[in-house]
Amino acid sequence: MNFHSLRLRMAAWYAGVLALCLVVFGAAVYLGLAGYLERTLRSSLRNDAQSIGEKLLVDVNRKGESFVTGEINEMAPEISGRFIRITRADGSILYQSPAPINQNFVPSKIATLRNWGSQPFSVEDSHAGVHSVLIEAVPFVAPEGNSFLIEVGASAREIHSTLHGLVTTLGLGMPLIIAVAALGGILVMRRALRPLDEITRTAETITSRNFGERLPTIRTGDEIERLTTSLNRMMSRLEDSFQHISRFSADVSHELRTPLTILRGELESLTQYDHLSPAALEVVGSALEEIARLTQIVNQLLEISRLEAGQATREVAVVSVGELAISTAEQMRLLADEKSIRLDYLVSSDVAVVGNASLLKQVVVNLLDNAIKYTPQGGSVELLVEIQGTKAVLEVRDTGIGIPAHALPHLCERFYRADRARTRGSGGAGLGLSIVKSICAAQGGELSIQSSEGQGTRVRIEMPRVNGRPQSPDEDSSREYLRLEH
């Protein structure tokens, strides 16, 4: 999984922000609930204290203290978990409730109070038990004038356990919510970004060969549509300049051809005159050779620009690579024989591709020519045609002088020479491999070159294979063309 993908990053941000919000929210709920619970408890405690004063202590002088004690005991504070204490003005205790049966606190440990004012007040005692005891103290003055302090308290345990429950719920719930939200976020993002994947896929398949193709635009009016539209516009501009370049190079070639024709014609007509000295003929011949070379360069440049403009790939047929390779190699055998080079075939017969037979033939001619040219006397050249998976493979191996490693990446560049001195004598213009590469690219093939200096070179071409009726690779007659729509 790609952790840099927009999808994951967006989902992570989204989950992070959500988690922060949830934590703030949880804290607010916690604090709010804690305050609310304490306020509620205290107000109920104060009510209790006040009602003890107004209902029981009012009569303390008339009915006696034991009546009050008895009445309070009737309320069973030990069962309800309440702490009740009534203190006389001199500090002596009139009543103190027994220990509650839930053992939340020990009443005797709760500090006694002296010198209270006339206003009710709140006390929190944390020494009487595990949880602190919340106490509401209410001063009371009997009608007869003697005053008391009524304290009613309760353990904070219940508040604490309620809050604890809340924390547990939030602690378990929040990660779950965040996880679900993050997952949902990823799904939503994936859905939203699916058009992007499609754009990427389509863009990958657009090469110089099908430059006319455009990305599918989905009329949603959103950012993705805008992106698609501007990508398409960019490709149109690229296509324009691309076509401009190939048109330019074709025009240049055209303009060069007419003067070349005149040059050649005039010089050739010179050679017809009988009165030219052998030395003059030699000069004219040398000039003619250079014209031939210039002509070849112009032709090859034009061919490359045509291949790159995709013009030459329209007429294709099912071609048997093996037959084509062998028949071509046979026509070149003499070139190998001349240098006592062994020319071997390792060709399986049922390899077929869809392609332009004469272009493919040109590839074989170029590769074999190079192999023979750069292999010394007595070496060997192997021609290999085989199937590898869905690929048809054409490989030419030689035991020649090889190519220096630094030159390998540049071999297919126009006019590139691995070694100026070496190839100049062989007459090439440095365009042969450029043409091979252009042809391969135009036919959906791939060219790779391996070489070690002094040991030999392997040039390998892989093309998509077809199962089909291979046609005779020989002459152009009666070939049935399969027109591919681009």
């Binding site: 070639s253 055209h254 051809r257 007419t258 070349l260 024709t261 005149i262 040059l263 050649r264 014609g265 005039e266 010089l267 050739e268 007509s269 050679t271 017809q272 003929l281 030699e282 004219v284 011949g285 040398s286 000039a287 003619l288 050779e289 014209i291 031939a292 002509t295 070849q296 032709n299 090859q300 034009l302 045509r306 013009q311 030459a312 329209r314 007429e315 071509t328 026509q331 070149m332 003499l334 070139l335 001349e338 004469s358 033939k361 040109q362 074989v364 001619v365 170029n366 020519d369 007459g427 090439g428 042969g432 002459e475």
Partner: protein, 226 residues
């Protein structure tokens, strides 16, 4: 034999005219499409050589109009465009042959001759140059009465040279005739085969028939010195 040459490049038309006149053709030159068409409609030519890129009226248009009135005159197209589509579309309009610039004059001549003798060609079954004899029926070659064994390619090469005896054939012409365009300009295949052929045909004989014309090509010629 009268030939109309429609070509706007003065230098090009002048050397073509010179060459054709030397071969005893009568040549009229038109410098643009319109005047060329007028000439073609006015006079009876045996052959029209037509450039495609012309001022005034495009070569293809000239061809279309010529064909409208006169369907029989052979038309040879000269063009710098060498794509298959260009050739096919002009052949469909009614061109009889198509020659791409730059061309060797010898090639133009060979094609003109081929177009002029359209119809049943009277090809002798045996060609003889000096004491070299080639029999087209049995595909046998003899020099001074001794049989020479040739491979199929060597035979095709020799036959091509001998049937154009005395004319210099360029490597290009030889490649396109004996091999095919795929070999064009890439290999020195012609030179190698000529060397082999020379070994078989000329070695051991006083008069050397196969000659190299530097920068131009090869020719087979009677009575040539070594």
């Amino acid at each position: 034999m009268r030939i109309l040459l429609i070509e706007d490049e003065v230098k090009l038309s002048s050397f073509i005219k010179r060459g054709l006149v030397a071969e005893r053709y009568a040549v009229d030159v038109a410098k643009d499409g319109r005047s060329g068409l007028e000439l073609a409609q006015t006079y009876q030519y045996d052959l029209i050589i037509l450039d495609l890129m012309l001022p005034g009226m495009d070569g293809s248009e000239v061809l279309r109009r010529i064909r409208k009135e006169n369907s029989s005159v052979p038309v040879l197209i000269l063009s710098a465009r060498d794509s298959v589509q260009d050739k096919v579309s002009n052949m469909e309009t009614g061109a009889d042959d198509y020659l791409t610039k730059p061309f060797a004059f010898a090639e133009l001549l060979v094609r003109i001759k081929a177009l002029m003798r359209r119809g049943p060609v009277n090809r002798a079954s045996t060609i003889r140059i000096n004491d070299l004899e080639l029999d087209r029926l049995s595909q046998q070659v003899k020099r001074a009465g001794h049989r020479i064994d040739l491979t199929a390619k060597e035979y095709a090469l020799l036959e091509y040279l001998m049937s154009n005896a005395g004319r210099v054939l360029s490597r290009n012409m030889i490649i396109e005739h004996v091999w095919d365009q795929s070999f064009d300009g890439i290999t020195n295949i012609v030179d190698v085969y000529i060397r082999h052929l020379r070994n078989k045909v000329d070695t051991g004989h006083d008069s050397k028939l196969l000659r190299t014309v530097r920068g131009v090509g090869y020719t087979i010629r009677e009575g040539a010195e070594a």
